[in-house]
Structures are given as structure tokens and as C-alpha cells.
Amino acid sequence: MAKNKQKAKNRGDAPALGFVGFLRWIWTQLTSMPTALFLLLMLAVAAVPGSIFPQRSVNPELVTQYLDQHPVAGPWLDRFQMFEVYSSAWFSAIYILLFISLVGCITPRIKKHAKALRTPPPRTPAKLERLPQYHSMEVMEDQPDTPTDDQLIDDAYKILKKRGYRVERRDDATGRSVSAERGYTREIGNLLFHISLLGILATAGLGQAYGYGGQRVVVEGETFVNSLVSYDSFSPGSNFSADNLQGYSVKLDKFDILFDRDSKDYFGQPLDFTAHVQVRENPDAEPVKQELKVNHPLRIDGADVYLVGNGYAPVVTVRDGEGNVSYSGPLVSVPQDSVYTSLMVIKVPDAKPEQLGFQGFLLPTALVGEDNVAFSGDPNAINPQLQLNSYYGDLGLNSGEPQNVYVLDTEKMTELNSRNLDAGGIVLGAGDTYELPDNLGSITFDDLKRYIALDVNYDPGKWPIAIFSGLALLGLIISMFTPRRRVWVKLKNEDGRRSIEYALLARGEDPRLERESDELQKIFDKAWPLASQEQDLGAVNG
């Protein structure tokens, strides 16, 4: 068996080893550096499609849109998980293999380094002059302060120790010497970096499993209570339980936007969004006034609330053909451009005798252009106006299929008001009421409010990830900028002529090795009476 393995190693391909041997071979291959390098580069390549194709995790609507637009390629891309690249089988396979390879690589290194930390610096080589940084200096014997052998070795020991080297006296057949090594933290930093990467991966998964995320739109005057029913959309982690929802509430008093009014070039561009809110940490707590801004989330008890969008919410009242109020309240409109020309849809399923539907635009500052078409001239509500078409018939809400609240399905409805009909479109200024044709009802534009879109996020993995990232960076810096080097100082005695030899050896990249050698030279010159004559073999290039 052992012989077989040896043979296999020599050939470098899969041998007939039996199951265990085969596993061992796989393991050796997986944990080898070329494999790790290959996986690393694969990971880079595999990440790219996620930036080209829309991702379900980022924006599911864009994926649906893409599938509609590419009826042939779309489903194929979907089959290859191109719309969920980062949770796909192939992407996961690459990074899981990479991390297994990483574990296989660092485990023996940890063992090895733990041993190195307990081992004295290596024996002094017999021929120091073969090392890259080598110097030899003769000791002048006739000086009053000429040191003895013991003194020389003691001094060298102290000097190197002071410079942060781990030192060991040696006395063997080739003579007396001091061997020294420094920079053990380099490997520790390197290991810390890699272990921290494992930590990041592990906690990212855990954080997602126990966390949750949700969206909610809040109109001025409304209160958002953190419970499952009050979310517009909610995505819990796999191990999430509703008991984890913190019972806070956020009331939106007022939402202010500051637009640029000074600049010619950027007139009307938003400069600041501020939501004035009242936060209750729990149902019994006193409300606390706070400001919610972009880049300044509300941090409540671990769950964070972010301001991610805003728009206008016109308040309308719709009366049906029988004179009853069948809808009254704010409606969220969707801004389409920088002047907040906003798309709006009103569905009134309770209207009788016919269900009513409206769709059209809110113009915050309505102006009429040369072609007689109204447009919005400013993002602020200076002259708000609703421009609507109306429909009656079946809204299609009873079919059981989920509907988009921002889209009116007019398939089973009849147009009542539009530019193309004699009745014309509905134009409502603030406070105006319009009577629908055929006594089907009326609509009133009561008021205009603003709304904000909130993202709520709870991710318990956040802090561990931050800590692991910090450790990774620390480890990286330590491992990159701590040189690991060995120094040997040797006392030579040839026919009564004593000389000091020293040599340096870098372990890993060490551009400053020569500078260290020069430093040592200076220190030795100061410590001992040394002849200036030297053989500077190491410094010669080529």
C-alpha cells in the first residue's frame, strides 16, 4: 500500500489504491495550492454573470421582465440559475470546495506553526557564506577593549534579542554561534486572515437564517407597528420566528425634501430628505421624536429602519352611484421622474352599482405646455393636479389571482372618462370634485400628503461579520508587513585570527532584508572593535 502510494505520487495521477487511498488522493489534490488557485480564479469568473443578469435576490421584478423579453434564452438562463447566481449550485460548489481546500491548507499550517513557536531557531549552517546576505569582519586584537569569545557571543545574543529576534546560543563542531529568528507573527497574521474568512462565511449564513427583512410604505400621519401584518412585503430567514419581532412602532409626522433652488445646473435636484418620526420602543414606551434620513437609519433594538424611497400620496374620496362613500384615504402614487410626475391607480371594488377604477397621473405643479398637454414643472406641490381616466365594470379582484396594486386591469371594464371620449379626462385641482358621467358617482381630491418607503432589516450576523472582517484586515496587514527572517552570527577562529561572520536569510518576500543587514553591521561596528576590511559577497549583484 505504502509502496503504491509512493508510486502514485511519482506519477501524479489517479492510482488504483482502493477507496481510502482514492479519498486521500482527492484530499491531497483539493488542498494543493494549484487547485486552490484554480478555484479562486473560478470564483472570480463565476461571480461575473450576477452583474450581467438581473438577480432575484436584488430585484425580482427585473427578472420577470427579463424573462418576458427573452422567451427563448430566458428559461435556459433560468435553468442554469443565472438569475440567482450567488445561491446557485455551481457558485456554491466553487466556494464550498474553496473553503474546504482552505481548511485543508491551514490546519497543517497551524500545527506546524504551533510547533515552530516552541522550537528554538534553526542550527547555524556550516557555510554561512552561501547565504544571500553574508558579511565577515575581523576582530582587532590589540585594542584595550577587545572582547573575549564569551563576550562576543553574549553581545551578539543581546543585540539580536533586543531587535526582536528569538535567539539561541550554539556551540558545535563548526564553532560558537548565535542563531536567531524573528517575524513569527507573520504566519500568525496569515492564519488569522484565513480563519477570519471562514468566520465571515459562517456568520453570513447564520445571520441570514435568523434575520428578517421587510418593506413598508408609510404616509404622513400613519403609524407603522412592527408586526407581520403591517409589512407590505416580508422575507424571513429560514430559522426566523415571529416572536423575534421587536414590538416597536414608528409614526411619520412629516416628511421634508430640500430641493436645490440656487444652482442653475441642478435646479430642483433633491439635496436632503428628512422624515420626522416618533418612535416607541415598545407599546408602553413614551414616543421619542427622531429624524430619519438617508444614511442615518433608525436603530431600534437591533432592527434597523432605513429610508429608501418617497413620493406623494393624494387623499381622495370616491362616492359611488348610490351616493355612498366607497373609498376615502391616501393613495400611494409612484414617481416617474425628477419632478415627481406620479403614476396612480385607484381601485374601488365597493362601488355600486358598478365597480370603479381610475388611473392617471398626479402633477405636483401642473403647467400647460404649448401642445395643450399638462406637465409638472416642479417637484414641490405648488399647484397639484390629478389627471385621470375612469372605468366601470369588473376590477377582476375576485379571480383569486394576486394583483399588482399599481396596475389597473381594464380588460373587463368600460372606459368612462378619457381624452378620446366626449366626456374627456378628469382634471382635479386641490379640493375639486368631479361628477362621473351616467350618475356612476364622484371623485374628490381632498388633500396631498407625502409618503416614505421603509426597509426594515434585522441581521444578527452583522456584528460578528464586522469583527471577522476587521480581524481579516488586521491579519492581512500583519502578514504582509512583518518580515520573517533568520540571522546567524558566528565566531570564527583561524590560526588565532578571530572574525565575526553573520548572514541573513529571508523567509518569504522581504524587500528590506539588505537594510536590516546594514543596520546590524552598524550595531556590530559600535559594539566591537572590528577591522573595516570586509568581504561583502552578498551585496554583489548578479
Partner: protein
């Protein structure tokens, strides 16, 4: 709402001066580029002359002393080959042995480059003062400030190492970036959009720009390394040296080592950029990582450079192979900065286009 009470007003006059100086700087950089190119052309010529002189001298020696007197340098072929690889002009520590004093064109180029950088620096700072904020809030500013960082890093590096052989690359790159900024993305000075109003813009973007500048410089070295490698291979095969000016350029090994050191620092900075970006993303968008196209490409860059470091440090991939990885890494940086900013639809769309 008559004025923007919350923010200091924009000094538009200063903004206009900034744009003017940016153009001036771009023009001077172009002249710098020409002088650096002239330096290389002239070096080409003077090296040939030097070779001719050395040849004559050698022949004289051979005649007077006889071939036996110089056992180590007996065969002419070997000798001229050693000359050709540039050993006599620049050492592996990038120290020049001769020629450096005679490079008048390069000296003029460096002086002009200092002037251009001063103009450029004024333009960038004027813009910052005009808007009362850091000058990196849109594509125009990323490019013009990034170009300034490249230029300053290069000039500072000149104090320590004679990197004038890279002058035409650096001045060319800076000219290109300034032209790209002023022609491709002309943007009048203005306030930051709310999404960018965060202290993290100071940290995250500046370190990203710095790291990119380092990657750019080591990219140039790796390209030269490949050229040098190919040239030496040709010479070793006994073919004529088509690019004698490459003898002012250090050997492939020296370039590789120096580029590696820069890339190491660049990688640490990029790691910090990504972490700072994640912290900012958490505060702005509610998640520290969301595979936004910009995040994807930052990750790709990080992985490619990580691969490069492993390849070189432990994988034994030295020479051209590791150079290619570094070049791919920088191409990803450029892609992330241009194509992703402009064409990819994501949260980092502040290009002002």
C-alpha cells in the same frame, strides 16, 4: 424654500476656474507625455552610440592586450548580450549606473510634470472648496481626482526610485483620464446627492482611488515586465534587439518584484475599501452586502488580486504568468470604474450620466 439653508452655497466662479485649470493641466500633461516619449527615443539613439563606442574600446583592448589577457570576457557574443539586457544601465534595485545624467528630455518632462500636477492640484482643490466637500461625488470628479492621485504618487515615488522609464505611461494615463473627465463627463460643480452625504465617502472612495492608483502603476510595470521578458528571450535566441530603449527599463525580475510590492499594498487597501463600503452600505441600504454590480466587481477584483498574491507567494507562479494575473486585475479595476459605473444599473449609479 428660497435657499438651501442646510448646505453652504456653491461658489460657481471658483468652479469655473477649476474647470479652466483642469484643461490647462491636461494640456501640460500632454506636453509631458511628448517629452517622456522623446526621452525614450533619444535613449534609443544614445544607447546605440554607447554600444558603438564600447565596441571600439573593446577592440582596442583586444588588439593591445590580446584575447588571452581577458579570460573572463573572451567571446564577444556573450559580452554584447550582457550589454543588451540593460545590465550596465540599471541595476535590479532600479539604480542607474550611467545615462541618467544625460537624459535631458526626461528632466524637462519631470519639471513640467510638477507644473502640471500643481495646476491639476489647484483645479481639484478649487472644486472641493467651491462645493465645500470632498471632490469625489461623480464620474468627472472620480476621474480628475484619481488622475491627480496617480500623478502625485508617481512624483513622490520619483524621490525614492528613478521611475522615469514609466513617465510616458503615467503622463499618458493621466492625460487620458483628464480628457475622459472633461470631454466624457463634463459636470458643473454641485452639491452631493443625499445618498452620498456620509462621512464614509471620505474614507471609502479615497482609499479606493488610492488603491486603484497603485494598481495602475504596478499594471504599467507588469506590462513592461512582459515586454522585457519577450525582448530578453529574443536576444537569448540570438535575434537582434528591436527595442534598445528598453535598456533604461529595469530587468523583468526587478519590475516583477516592485510591482508585487505595490500590489501587496494595493490589495490591503482594496480589502479596506470593500470593508468600508460594506459598512457604508449597511448604513445606507440596510445590508452590508447585496451583490450590486459594483459590489460584484469589487469582489472579482479582490479575488483576482488574492489569486495573484497566492500565485506569486506560494504557488510558484512567477514571471509572465503572475504578470498576466496582475494585468487582468487592473483591467477589472478599469472595467469596474468605467463600464460598471456607466452602463450597469445598480445602486452605485452616481456617474452623473
Amino acid at each position: 424654500m428660497g435657499s438651501n439653508a442646510a448646505l453652504e452655497p456653491i461658489n460657481e466662479t471658483l468652479g469655473v476656474y477649476s474647470q479652466l485649470f483642469m484643461l490647462l493641466a491636461a494640456m501640460v500633461y500632454m506636453v509631458v507625455f511628448i517629452f517622456f516619449a522623446l526621452d525614450l527615443a533619444k535613449t534609443n539613439k544614445s544607447i546605440s552610440e554607447m554600444d558603438a563606442a564600447a565596441l571600439k574600446e573593446d577592440e582596442k583592448l583586444l588588439v593591445s592586450a590580446g584575447a588571452v589577457a581577458r579570460p573572463g570576457r573572451g567571446r564577444r557574443g556573450e559580452d554584447s548580450r550582457a550589454d543588451n539586457v540593460g545590465e550596465h544601465i540599471v541595476t535590479d534595485k532600479m539604480e542607474y549606473t550611467k545615462l541618467s545624467s544625460s537624459r535631458k528630455m526626461a528632466r524637462i518632462a519631470v519639471v513640467l510634470m510638477c507644473l502640471a500636477t500643481a495646476l491639476h492640484g489647484f483645479a481639484v482643490f478649487a472644486r472641493a472648496f467651491a462645493a465645500n466637500r470632498v471632490p469625489w461625488g461623480n464620474m468627472y470628479e472620480f476621474m480628475s481626482t484619481g488622475a491627480l492621485v496617480v500623478s502625485v504618487v508617481y512624483l513622490v515615488a520619483l524621490f525614492f526610485k528613478d521611475l522615469r522609464f514609466m513617465g510616458s505611461f503615467i503622463s499618458g494615463l493621466v492625460t487620458l483620464m483628464l480628457c475622459g473627465a472633461t470631454i466624457g463627463f463634463p459636470t458643473p460643480v454641485g452639491h452631493l446627492v443625499p445618498a452620498l452625504q456620509s462621512p464614509w465617502i471620505v474614507i471609502h472612495v479615497s482609499i479606493a482611488v488610492f488603491a486603484s492608483a497603485l494598481f495602475a502603476i504596478s499594471f504599467a510595470m507588469n506590462v513592461l515586465q512582459l515586454m522585457q521578458h519577450a525582448r530578453m528571450k529574443r536576444i537569448a535566441e540570438g535575434q537582434p534587439d528591436k527595442m534598445p530603449f528598453m535598456r533604461v527599463v529595469p530587468g523583468a525580475g526587478a519590475l516583477e518584484n516592485f510591482a508585487y510590492r505595490l500590489n501587496t499594498i494595493g490589495f490591503a487597501m482594496w480589502t479596506f475599501t470593500v470593508i468600508a463600503g460594506a459598512i457604508w452600505a449597511e448604513a445606507a441600504w440596510g445590508r452590508y452586502w447585496g451583490w450590486d454590480p459594483k459590489e460584484v466587481w469589487s469582489f472579482v477584483i479582490w479575488v483576482v488580486y488574492a489569486g495573484y498574491l497566492h500565485a506569486r507567494a506560494t504557488g510558484g507562479w512567477t514571471g509572465p504568468r503572475s504578470a498576466w494575473l496582475s494585468i487582468i486585475g487592473f483591467l477589472c479595476v478599469v472595467f469596474n470604474f468605467t463600464i460598471v459605473n456607466i452602463f450597469f444599473n445598480g445602486l452605485h449609479s452616481y456617474a452623473g450620466v
